[in-house]
């Protein structure tokens, strides 16, 4: 067992500790900003990031991945908090965790592969757009100083990393600009205007909500949406970390881990969280590989809050806005534009519809579900295109059937044959086709028997093994007693 601990935790101590510290530093502004998006006290996001990271370090399935409070989850939960208050959020978070544990136990993570890439791209893009839109009320139409600070933040965040990589640029921006704001007494909104920072560890509390069916009815839809969005982003992030580290991970274990972490987070006054693409990439780039890096990130984050909490309330809002704009730009998939040009039109449409529905409803889960359904419809339509090629030679007509023959394509199949011909030799060749169900066999029956009624000779050939089995089992055209109806 100790060997296992060594291989899971301590094979890369220096890299992991350094990466964890870098992540914690970069995580503070994000956790605060996401709390503001959700409409909660900054402490809620910070507590959540602490509990998520620490629990996932032990229970997660993808070492090196960072889970915390995220923008995607914040966006989903915002209406719940606005309409019912924070206690309902804690209850929903716990329920989200339970649902995610069940998903993991029932190995639903495998279903992820059915989510088409167009929907995933749409998800990521719409997330970026929503994060940007959430910043607008915090910097548009306030005062000129706000615009200036946002611009300087963006400048720092994009230029400094070219020259100095040791400390995350967002942190440099915060420290520098908070100091400037304090000394110059600039007229800027601060984090403190939006909430208080308590410098203490989170405490266990049971959400003060009535334990009845009405509460369940309120939180259940949100919990499902949070579970889906959380797992979607976490499994995508896990795939990215898998690729970067050239290792594989147990997606179902990750789902269970996310669930456990959310349950704990809900009981300790945090908002539901999930894995973060941006921070996980930063972690791996900074040398983090094992569970230790995630743990260090969470613990160091809490340490910073306890030590520096007082200063956090002074951070000017425009600085956080600038950082969130950077996050939004980094989240957006800029190669989507060439994707739209090169991908099949149906895929491009699915992606656009996903984005449109998310932005219109402000709900990531609705967009994903709509995208998946639309994609499924397109898939059935595509796969039900039947092609029947006709070749006529003397008295023989050969039909080459191409495509998948099942309930959705039987009409196209039947219409391809002109059964009014008489006394011909008909050959129907199924080499490039596959027969899937009883409707398909029924359609073949109908065609064959109608031809025979008109005194044509019909031969069916080259059915593949599976098709032949079905036809032998169900067809009546080779039964001398049958007739068409």
């Amino acid at each position: 067992m100790f060997e296992k601990i060594k291989t899971d935790w301590f094979f890369n101590i220096k890299g992991d500790v350094l990466a964890g510290i870098v992540v914690a530093l970069a995580l503070i502004p994000e956790a605060i900003a996401f709390s503001i998006i959700a409409g909660v006290d900054p402490m809620v996001g910070l507590y959540a990031s602490f509990t998520m990271a620490v629990i996932i370090a032990f229970a997660g399935g993808r070492p090196g991945m960072i889970s915390a409070a995220t923008g995607a989850m914040a966006l989903v939960m915002a209406p719940l908090i606005r309409d019912h208050g924070i206690e309902y959020l804690f209850a929903a978070t716990i329920l989200t965790g339970v649902i995610q544990i069940l998903f993991g136990v029932f190995k639903i993570a495998k279903l992820m592969r059915f989510i088409p890439r167009a929907v995933m791209i749409g998800f990521v893009n719409s997330l970026a757009i929503l994060i940007f839109m959430a910043q607008v009320p915090h910097f548009i139409g306030i005062n000129n100083m706000t615009y200036v600070f946002v611009a300087i933040t963006l400048l720092i965040v994009y230029v400094v990393p070219r020259f100095f990589k040791a400390i995350p640029a967002p942190l440099i921006a915060i420290v520098a600009l908070t100091s400037v704001a304090l000394y110059s007494n600039a007229d800027l909104r601060t984090v403190g205007d939006l909430g208080a920072i308590t410098q203490s560890l989170p405490t266990f509390l049971i959400p003060t909500v009535p334990f009845n069916f009405e509460t369940l009815a309120i939180i259940f839809p949100y919990a499902i949406a949070l579970a889906i969005v959380g797992l979607l982003e976490s499994l995508l992030t896990a795939s990215i970390v898998d690729d970067m580290t050239d290792t594989s991970s147990n997606k179902n274990r990750e789902a269970r881990g996310q669930g456990i972490a959310n349950v704990v987070t809900g009981f300790f006054g945090g908002m539901a969280g999930c894995a973060m693409i941006g921070q996980s990439v930063i972690n791996v780039k900074s040398g983090g590989r094992s569970r230790l890096s995630t743990l260090v990130a969470g613990v160091f984050l809490m340490f910073l809050i306890i030590v520096l909490g007082e200063l956090v309330v002074q951070i000017p809002m425009p600085v956080l806005v600038g950082i969130m704009i950077m996050v939004s730009i980094g989240t957006f998939d800029w190669s989507s534009f060439s994707y739209l040009r090169k991908a099949p039109k149906t895929d491009a449409l699915v992606m656009l519809v996903t984005v449109a529905i998310v932005v219109a409803t402000h709900d990531l889960s609705k967009g994903v579900i709509a995208g998946v359904i639309l994609s499924a419809i397109f898939f059935v339509a595509k796969i039900s295109t039947m092609k029947v090629l006709k070749q006529e030679e003397d008295n023989q007509i050969t039909f080459q059937v191409e495509g998948q023959l099942f309930f959705a394509s039987v009409d196209a199949f039947v219409d391809a044959f002109d059964i009014s011909v008489e006394k011909k030799n008909i050959v129907i060749d199924f080499t490039t086709a596959h027969v899937w169900d009883d409707s398909a066999v029924g359609a073949i029956d109908k065609v064959v028997m109608k031809y025979r009624e008109n005194h044509n000779q019909v031969t069916i050939k080259n059915l593949n093994a599976a098709s032949k089995k079905l036809v032998d089992q169900l067809a009546v055209f080779n039964d001398p007693k049958a007739s068409t109806h």
């Binding site: 995508l236 690729d243 970067m244 050239d246 780039k285 998939d333």
Partner: protein, 181 residues
């Protein structure tokens, strides 16, 4: 005294041949030309072999994973980028190997080249000027600076050289006109 300083000691067994040649491939026209230069050198001696090194860039990981439908397709896409250089090796009967590493291109190439003690590194250059390099970065610059063996970097591509090859991912990498900017 000066004569003593100028007396250069040769190692025993001076190596006269570039035995292990590392070529950095990223699927671009420039890396294909680099592979062509490596062929010129490797074909001088039967003992030479070439290693085609493709770096799966950390910065591109998110985009590539998002756009690939699954791990298998992603590997296929990457293999497709290396394919043209591989074909070039096969056509010229050069002994070669393919290696894929994940990381930040510059440091990863340097660490690998130094660790495996290659005799020569061949890496194409996009021919960017100073300002462009500052904005866009230069992998070849870092490699030239830090690798412990000779580096072939200045690979001229003539105006109007046309390369056309198709990749396994069904997208035809069309005409690559090259200009020496």
């Amino acid at each position: 005294m000066i004569q003593k300083l100028l007396h250069i000691k040769h190692n025993d067994g001076v190596v006269k041949v570039y035995k292990k040649i590392l070529v950095a491939i990223d699927g671009s026209l420039h890396s294909y030309r680099a592979a062509a230069e490596a062929v010129k050198i490797a074909s001088l001696d039967k003992a030479s072999n070439v290693e085609l090194l493709y770096i799966a860039d950390f910065s591109k990981a998110k985009k590539e994973v998002l756009h690939a439908q699954g791990k298998a397709e992603l590997e296929q896409v990457r293999r497709g980028r290396i394919q043209p250089a591989e074909d070039l090796m096969k056509e010229n009967l050069i002994d070669y190997e393919v290696k894929i590493l994940h990381g930040d291109p510059g440091p990863t190439i340097v660490d690998y080249a130094n660790k495996e003690k290659f005799d020569l590194v061949v890496i194409g250059s996009r021919g960017l000027n100073g300002l462009q390099e500052m904005v866009l970065g230069s992998v070849s610059h870092k490699v030239v600076k830090r690798v412990n063996c000779p580096v072939l970097n200045k690979i001229i591509t003539r105006i109007g050289e046309l390369y056309s090859y198709s990749f396994l991912d069904h997208s035809t990498r069309d005409v690559g006109w090259s200009f020496p900017f």
